[in-house]
Structure formats: structure tokens, C-alpha cells
């Protein structure tokens, strides 16, 4: 209750901004062709939601994000654990990773389109590539930071390598892994939207660009609102999941 009151001024400002925008457009201060009144965008948004038209593009984009995120995270964690645990693996892969990491993944989209066309495979690969490196780097950092006393304790109990990795190293480096995955989730959405825009087909990203190019400005803003909500929801859900998974950390204890 108190926290709700705390944010009251901010929410009031938001409402005032939207009302001000409505007034400015009505008064002719902003051209309707560029910025339709928020009420008109709201009506367009309502039409998309009520008719169910929003579902297909939304799920197309979400499918890309989830598939690419899952593949990129799984590979990133596997490579990070291998490099963090076996020094020989680190020496083998480190130069390659350092060479590939600074390449902007967005610039790889045109190259991937040559090979994989403009379909799902290209888009999921783009997303997975963007996710892979931050997850890898954070996993590596987490695995290297595992308390050596814990490792000794595991060895004293006669645990094998698989058991140590599964029950000790992975849980202990989970905070780092999840932090990397949180950054990667934002990147995944960016790459999914970009790949849709450049390939000229698919979900939300394509629609936003397409509506702008065909001057259906109200619909452009309506889809943009849906995409913003997706971004906000993904981030919030991940934070909640992260807090649940790390409930044993002191900072998360009630």
C-alpha cells in the first residue's frame, strides 16, 4: 500500500503526459499523420486484441525468442562450464571466443541470410548467437569463482566429476549464469525484432516496420505497444524466476 502511494506521482505524470499528448494532437500542435491521438491508438490496439489478430505475430516472435534463447543458453552454459572446469579446454577455446565475441551479432544477420534464407532457421540462429556469448562469459566467471573449500569438501565425500559439476559447480555459479541470461534475454528480443525487419516477414518486428512504410501509423503504434509489453513482461518474469531460483542467496531472503 505504502509502495503504491510512493509511485503515485510517477503514475500521475504518465497519465498527464498521455492526456497532454491527446490534447496537443487535437489542438493541431502535432501532425496526426505522425502521431495519432493516444485514444485512437488505444482503439486500434483494442481492435487487435478483441479480434484475436494479435496472437499470430505475437507468438511468431515469442517462438523465435524462446527457441533462440534456449539453444544459445544451453550451448553457452555447456561451453562456459567446460572452459571453467578444464584448463585445457580454456586454453583451447579462449582465443577463438575472444576472436568471435566482439563481432556485432546484428551485422551477422545479412551473412546468415545468404546461407539460411529468410525463414525461421536464420532468425533462430541470429538470436542464439547473440545469447551464446554473454551466457558463456558469465558461466565461465561463475564456475571459476566457486569456493575451493566446497570443491575440497565434495572430493572428501568421494564425489565424481559429473556429480561435482551437477550438484556443486552448477548451483554455486547459478547467480552468475542467471545474470548473463537476463542480459541475453534482452538481446534475444532485439535480434528477433531485427531479423524480422531485415527478412521482411514474420512477427512483431516486421509488422511495425511494414505499418510505418504503408503509413498505417495507428497500427504501427498499436503493435509497438504490444512489443513493449512483451519486453516488460519477459524481463519481469525472468526477474521473478531468478529470485525463486536463488532464494538461498542472502540478498533474496525475506
Amino acid at each position: 500500500m505504502r509502495s503504491a502511494l510512493r509511485w503515485l506521482p510517477g503514475i500521475a505524470l504518465l497519465a498527464a503526459l498521455i492526456a497532454g499528448l491527446e490534447w496537443a494532437v487535437d489542438a493541431g500542435l502535432i501532425r496526426r499523420a505522425l502521431m495519432p491521438p493516444p485514444s485512437a491508438i488505444g482503439a486500434a490496439l483494442w481492435d487487435l486484441l478483441a479480434s484475436g489478430e494479435f496472437a499470430e505475430p505475437l507468438f511468431a516472435t515469442l517462438r523465435l525468442v524462446f527457441a533462440g534463447f534456449a539453444i544459445g543458453s544451453a550451448l553457452g552454459i555447456a561451453a562456459g562450464v567446460a572452459m571453467g572446469w578444464w584448463p585445457a579446454m580454456y586454453r583451447l577455446l579462449e582465443p577463438l571466443v575472444e576472436l568471435l565475441r566482439p563481432i556485432p551479432k546484428a551485422a551477422l544477420v545479412p551473412a546468415l541470410m545468404l546461407f539460411l534464407g529468410i525463414g525461421e532457421a536464420m532468425k533462430i540462429t541470429s538470436v542464439a548467437l547473440a545469447v551464446f556469448f554473454p551466457v558463456l562469459v558469465n558461466t565461465l566467471q561463475g564456475v571459476r569463482g566457486v569456493d575451493s573449500v566446497m570443491l575440497d569438501a565434495g572430493r572428501t565425500h568421494g564425489w565424481g566429476t559429473t556429480h561435482v559439476l551437477r550438484h556443486l559447480v552448477l548451483p554455486a555459479s547459478l547467480p552468475f549464469i542467471l545474470a548473463g541470461m537476463r542480459v541475453a534475454l534482452g538481446l534475444a528480443l532485439v535480434l528477433a525484432v531485427l531479423a524480422e525487419m531485415l527478412s521482411g516477414q514474420g512477427g512483431l518486428g516486421f509488422l511495425i516496420l511494414d505499418m510505418q512504410r504503408s503509413f498505417q501509423v495507428r497500427l504501427m503504434y498499436a503493435w509497438l505497444v504490444i512489443l513493449a509489453v512483451v519486453g516488460l513482461a519477459l524481463n519481469t518474469l525472468f526477474l521473478l524466476a531468478e529470485r525463486r531460483a536463488l532464494h538461498w542467496q542472502p540478498a533474496n531472503r525475506p
Binding site: 510512493r6 509511485w7 506521482p9 510517477g10 503514475i11 505524470l13 504518465l14 503526459l17 499523420a33 505522425l34 502521431m35 585445457a88 586454453r91 583451447l92 577455446l93 579462449e94 582465443p95 577463438l96 576472436l99 568471435l100 566482439p102 563481432i103 556485432p104 551479432k105 546484428a106 551485422a107 551477422l108 544477420v109 545479412p110 551473412a111 541470410m113 545468404l114 546461407f115 534482452g186 528480443l189 532485439v190 528477433a192 525484432v193 531485427l194 525487419m197 531485415l198 512483431l204 518486428g205 511495425i208 516496420l209 505499418m211 510505418q212 512504410r213 501509423v217 504501427m220 503504434y221 509497438l224 512489443l227 513493449a228 519486453g231 516488460l232 519477459l234 524481463n235
Partner: protein, 258 residues
């Protein structure tokens, strides 16, 4: 010398993969116009650099990136100081900021095109928007980490509020602010290229898309390679500047702030 030998396996792997790339293209194991040998890619890079085509494009891209970095960074520091020092300002503006933050950058390009057109203004604005958020977050963190004693001492010496901000708060939070800028720098280069790819006819991004339409694989790989080197060099250069600007932070035995 021993350190170099220790890394031999890794460098061997990189060289082996490059060799495999070259062989697979030359010997027709991968028979595709999209798979030129690595030597042809390097030759294309050299050719396009020598003709001056690539340097001009890269120069334009870097200029837009720098302008966006400056504008967005300045706004991020100023708003961050406001958020951290005046709680009411934070409560007033935080909901607006938090609603805008999760929008994926490429998606703000179409509406900005409507307002600002296809050229520099739009691209610089997109970059500035991208840079704004990490710098803002880090500035707020940095100001919160300023030691209370330092501020109390300033007050004891009768230093005015504004001068305290400029001479105590800003320098003390600089390590955090710079860490935010380093994150922002990597984003800025990518986003400049993305904006160029989606709209307008400028810079490296547009060149990439053109080469893709023309099916010129060598040029595409050469450009991607160049962007990788550029990103790496920018990060290295920034680390050097950071070390110089906040040598006291490292002298205290602290690591980079983020």
C-alpha cells in the same frame, strides 16, 4: 615465452579452422557462392579499404555513433544525478523511464523515421536512446556508492550544494559512470549499424544490406570482420582512457565497477 606456448592449442585451433575454411572453399567441399575462401575475403577487405570506399562509410558510421554516445551519455549522467540526489525526481520520472527501457531498440526506429526522417538526426537519436539507459543506471549506482564521509566533509568545509555535486559526487562516482559508458560504447556501434540497415542509405549498415542483396558474400564477411576489429579496438581504447581517468580507483586495488 612459456605463456605464449601455453596458449598454443588455442591459437592452433583458430589457425586450423581458418585453414579448414580456406580448404573447404578452394577444394569445393562446400560448393556455394556464399562460401568464399578466407583469403578472398581478406583480399576484398584490403581492396575496399584501399579504394577508400570502406573508410568513408566507416567514418560516417563512427561519427554518428560518437554523436549519439555524447548526447545520450550526457543525458544519462544528468538524469542519473537528478534521480540519485533528488528522490522526488526519481519517483516522478522512474515509471516513464521503466516503461521505455524494455522496448527493443530496432522497434523505435520506424516511429523515429516518421518524425526525424532517414538521415543523421534519426540515427543519432536512436544511438542516444540506447546509450541513455545503461549510463543512467550506472550513474545512479555510482552516486549511491559515494562515501557519506566525503560529503559530510564537504559540508563541514562549507562547500555549496552545486559545487559538492561537481567536485565530490561526480569524481567519486566516475568509475561507475565510465563502466556504464563502456557497456554503452559496445551497444552504440551495433545500434548505429542496425539503424543504417533498417533505414536510409548511409554507412556500413546500409552497405551490408546492399551487398547481401547483390549476393556479394566476400564483401559481407569482410565488413563483418572489420566491425569486429573496430568493436575490439574501441573497447581497448576505452579501457586505456578509463585507466588514466580513474587511476586512483585501480590504485585502491578495486576492479572495474561493472
Amino acid at each position: 615465452m612459456i605463456g605464449q606456448l601455453r596458449n598454443a592449442s588455442g591459437i592452433g585451433l583458430v589457425l586450423g579452422l581458418l585453414l579448414l575454411w580456406e580448404a573447404s572453399a578452394r577444394l569445393g567441399w562446400v560448393a556455394s557462392p556464399n562460401w568464399p575462401p578466407v583469403s578472398a575475403v581478406l583480399a576484398a577487405l584490403l581492396r575496399d579499404v584501399m579504394t577508400g570506399e570502406i573508410p568513408t562509410l566507416v567514418g560516417g558510421t563512427l561519427w554518428r555513433m560518437a554523436a549519439g554516445l555524447f548526447a545520450g551519455g550526457l543525458a544519462g549522467v544528468v538524469v542519473g544525478l537528478g534521480f540519485a540526489l533528488l528522490p522526488f525526481v526519481a519517483r516522478l520520472f522512474a515509471p516513464v523511464v521503466e516503461l521505455l527501457r524494455p522496448i527493443p531498440v530496432p522497434a523505435v526506429i520506424p516511429p523515429l523515421v516518421l518524425f526525424l526522417g532517414l538521415d543523421n538526426t534519426m540515427k543519432v537519436t536512436v544511438v542516444a536512446l540506447t546509450v541513455f539507459f545503461p549510463v543512467l543506471t550506472n550513474t545512479v549506482q555510482g552516486v549511491r556508492a559515494v562515501e557519506a564521509d566525503a560529503l559530510a566533509m564537504g559540508r563541514t568545509f562549507g562547500i555549496g550544494a552545486l559545487r559538492r555535486v561537481v567536485f565530490i559526487v561526480l569524481p567519486a562516482s566516475l568509475p561507475y559512470i565510465l563502466a556504464g559508458f563502456r557497456v554503452a560504447l559496445a551497444l552504440a556501434l551495433v545500434v548505429t549499424v542496425v539503424a543504417e540497415m533498417i533505414a536510409g542509405e548511409q554507412g556500413v549498415g546500409h552497405y551490408l544490406v546492399m551487398m547481401q542483396f547483390a549476393g556479394r558474400a566476400e564483401e559481407i564477411y569482410a565488413t563483418v570482420l572489420l566491425l569486429g576489429v573496430l568493436g575490439y579496438a574501441l573497447n581497448r581504447a576505452f579501457l586505456l582512457v578509463e585507466r588514466r581517468m580513474i587511476h586512483w580507483w585501480f590504485a585502491l586495488g578495486r576492479q572495474s565497477a561493472a
